[in-house]
């Protein structure tokens, strides 16, 4: 009896609490903007608000954190100031689950008006599904770095505006290099010598956490480019020449395994996770000397162990003797890219919001506070490190965008899986490349 009473009592109590919370939430969101409507029909007002034209609400999903999140928020504030009748509902999502979340929202028919992407194959999937709005007419293409804009341009139509870019150099610990008399390598053989010296001294040459898969992919991309030249990937991707099972790719796979066998990577790389910091940990504790990683490593360092930044130097992945690639061809990528959902009811406003998010102001903000290279032309860099990085990018003759973001998702997955298997020495390079090529034949046939 006693139990029962308590249960009912709690149930009623909680329902009251919830009921009490419900309306007060909507007052928070609507109240400020919608003071004209009285207290009484608050419930209706939330529905009317959108159709009235008095007050429009746009939703924006992004995945920026820390200072770049603030840059986004400031951009939204500027947009709201210019458009007093519009309020933007900003949701910051978590990188990994974001992908599933957006898929469900798109498929379920209730996507955000403006959303984040990385361009490339992933965005293309949504474009092909008729879920992304063509914003060619509202975007000023001349504002943006050509390479950056290209990741969201398909068939000459623009589907998204880029804000920032990253390049992938090889970071190293200057102290360790000094201690063993090592110098930044010019050629791949120099690099192999460095690897040897370090392993002889019980230092892991490369900190790599390859459970995350894209981390290991950097090595394969660079080696393939250095052997096969900058056109290798494009030919394979566009099906206009060499393929993914080309000898250059097989050779690159062999070189990866050669490095693994030399002990260039930590024990059990495939079980280590970049996000939880397992490879950075090795850098910080100086048990590893180098890491091939995107420029965001610097942000990670500033967050986690600021004093380590002094020891951090970088060089570009060296060229291979006899290969077609060059040292100043870089691997890089674009993030964030903002796009408008096809299902939006406010296409013009959404496109305007995209322009504000990818404006010179936002890009400047982000470059200087969050340490990324701007995808918008004309930014004055304050951060010396970013300045150096952007010079690298400007002087590079070719930029290879990350395979896993450029390729269609299914093919990207096969590339990542087989590359991971190469690192685990559980697959022969020929077999790995043949598998990628087989999937490519299927997925890219058109």
């Amino acid at each position: 009896m006693f139990n029962k009473k308590i249960c009912w009592f709690m149930l009623i109590l909680i329902l009251l609490v919830v009921a009490g919370c419900g309306p007060s939430d909507s007052t928070n969101t609507e109240g400020t903007a919608d003071d004209a409507t009285g207290e009484t029909d608050k419930e209706n007002s939330s529905e009317n608000a959108e159709s009235d034209g008095d007050q429009t609400t746009l939703t924006l999903w992004h995945i920026e954190t820390g200072p770049s999140k603030e840059s986004i928020e400031e951009a939204v504030e500027r947009f709201e100031k210019n458009n007093p009748n519009v309020s933007v509902d900003v949701s910051q999502q978590e990188n990994d689950p974001y992908k599933s979340q957006l898929s469900v929202a798109m498929g379920g028919g209730n996507p955000p008006d403006v959303f984040h992407s990385w361009g490339g194959g992933w965005l293309k999937q949504f474009v092909d599904s008729d879920q992304v709005m063509n914003i060619t007419d509202s975007v000023d293409e001349s504002l943006y770095n050509e390479a950056a804009l290209s990741v969201s341009t398909f068939d000459g139509k623009v589907y998204g505006a880029p804000v920032s870019m990253d390049v992938v150099p090889v970071f190293y610990n200057k102290d360790i290099f000094e201690e063993y008399g090592l110098e930044e390598p010019e050629t791949y053989n120099d690099l192999l010598e460095i690897v040897e010296t370090l392993t002889d001294n019980d230092i892991t040459p490369f900190a790599l956490a390859n459970q995350t898969k894209w981390t290991g992919s950097f090595y394969l991309m660079y080696l393939a480019e250095r052997i096969g030249g900058p056109e290798l990937f494009n030919e394979a991707f566009e099906r206009t020449g060499r393929n993914f099972d080309d000898t250059a790719y097989v050779e690159a796979g062999k070189k990866v395994q050669e490095l693994v066998e030399m002990g260039a990577f930590p024990e059990g790389v495939n079980g280590m996770n970049y996000d939880t910091g397992q490879s950075r940990q090795m850098l910080y504790t100086e048990s590893a000397a180098m890491m091939t990683m995107g420029g965001w490593l610097v942000n990670n360092v500033r967050d986690e162990m600021p004093e380590f930044e002094d020891k951090l130097g970088f060089f570009l992945f060296p060229s291979i003797e006899g290969g077609d690639g060059e040292k100043n061809h870089v691997v890089g990528g674009v993030s964030p890219v903002f796009s408008v959902a096809q299902q939006t009811e406010h296409s013009e406003l959404a496109a305007e919001l995209v322009n504000e998010l990818a404006s010179l102001e936002t890009a400047t903000d982000m470059s200087n506070n969050a340490g990324s290279i701007s995808a918008v032309n004309g930014v004055e860099y304050e951060d010396p490190y970013i300045k150096e990085m952007s010079e690298v990018l400007e002087s590079s003759q070719a930029m290879q965008t990350y395979y896993d973001q450029t390729l269609p998702p299914e093919l990207a997955q096969v590339h990542l899986d087989t590359t991971q298997a190469l690192f685990g020495l559980s697959m022969e390079p020929e077999q790995a490349m043949a598998e990628v090529e087989a999937t490519a034949k299927e997925v890219l046939k058109e």
Binding site: K99, S100, S103, M106, G107, Q125, F126, D128, S129, D130, Q131, T204, N210, Q211, T212, K213, P266, E267, G268, V269, N270, G271, M272, N273, T276, Q278, Q281, M282, T285, S287, P409, E410, Q413, D417, Q420, A421, G424, S426, M427
Partner: protein, 309 residues
């Protein structure tokens, strides 16, 4: 005489009315649960099967009906077979560790140990920790270079066993399975304990008078009375293992080289990473069928042993 007749008529009447009333009682009791369950779960199961007959990315309006093609493709999919194999490893490991360990912990809680309350709380901790925390901690514990497990092995002189536990294809699946079992054993502990507290003390007292040893007491009183809950636990454990997802996703993501892929993680990958909603749904529905068949087998097996005994 007439009075007697009246009474018997009355009882007939009552019985009929009662049967009618029983139907309404049954409906009344089951309906609230059934409605919510039907709206969300049965609907979802139906939709899963529906989607599985289409070639569909999950994000567009273009659904192409392909009949059972997805299932045919699934039968030829090596990764799917690897994942089934891993799922059954997990099922067997769960049955062999979670249930016995849960039982041992539950029994320990009834033994006259000092500080029983503390033990009771701590034993339960793995189950109340969030999977996120468990995943992160165990990635570090299993780590090959400075992981806690390797340090402990070194401490007790077993350096030869040291390895990168989740970095190697041969050990990864076992490392994750061990973690899953570690997490779920406490749940069976409380399930068994809840049953054991219901066993009347008099039964044990009678056994004590007969001079039964602890083992005899366990074998002749506790175990038979626990049998129904053990069967239930086995079903829960098998079904749970067949659709397991969480820790694999956090710890290995199905890698290295698909060696820890489970049906659920593979389904997730196909559905959300590769945009194959139709194919992913066919994996889900196959999981559903497999779990259903296995459960029916357990129930039938249970019934037949009951029939013999």
């Amino acid at each position: 005489m007439s009075r007697l007749q009246e009474i018997s008529l009355d009882t007939v009447h009552v019985r009929k009315k009662k049967k009618n009333k029983d139907t309404w009682v049954i409906i009344g009791f089951i309906a609230p649960a059934f409605i919510i369950y039907g709206v969300y779960v049965i609907y979802s199961i139906f939709m899963t099967f529906y989607y599985s007959t289409f070639d569909w990315t999950g994000i567009d309006a273009n659904m192409v009906f392909v009949g059972l093609d997805n299932y045919i493709q699934l039968f030829q999919d090596d990764v799917f077979w690897t994942s089934i194999q891993n799922n059954f490893l997990l099922v067997i490991a769960s049955l062999l560790t979670q249930l016995p360990v849960g039982l041992i912990m539950a029994l320990l809680l009834f033994s006259p140990i000092k500080g029983m309350r503390l033990f009771r709380s701590v034993y339960f901790m793995p189950f109340l920790m969030s999977t996120v925390a468990i995943g992160i901690l165990f990635i570090f514990i299993y780590e090959g270079n400075y992981g806690l497990l390797n340090a402990i092995l070194e401490g007790i002189g077993l350096e030869s066993l040291q390895t990168a536990w989740i970095g190697k294809e041969s050990t990864a699946i076992w490392a994750v399975i061990a973690t899953v079992c570690w997490q779920f054993a406490p749940f069976y502990m409380i399930l068994f304990r809840a049953t054991m507290v219901g066993i009347p003390e008099e039964l044990y007292e009678a056994a004590d008078i007969d001079g039964a040893s602890g083992w005899q007491r366990f074998k002749s009183i506790t175990l038979p009375l626990l049998k129904p809950i053990i069967i239930t636990s086995a079903i829960l454990s098998v079904i749970g293992s067949l659709k397991y997802f969480d820790l694999i996703y956090v710890m290995t993501g199905g890698g290295p080289n698909n060696s820890t892929e489970l049906m659920a993680t593979y389904m997730y990958k196909q559905t959300f990473t590769n945009f194959n909603m139709g194919y992913g749904s066919s994996i889900s529905f196959s999981m559903f069928i497999i779990a259903f068949i296995v459960t029916v087998f357990i129930l039938l097996g249970d019934r037949s042993t009951r029939g013999n005994g």
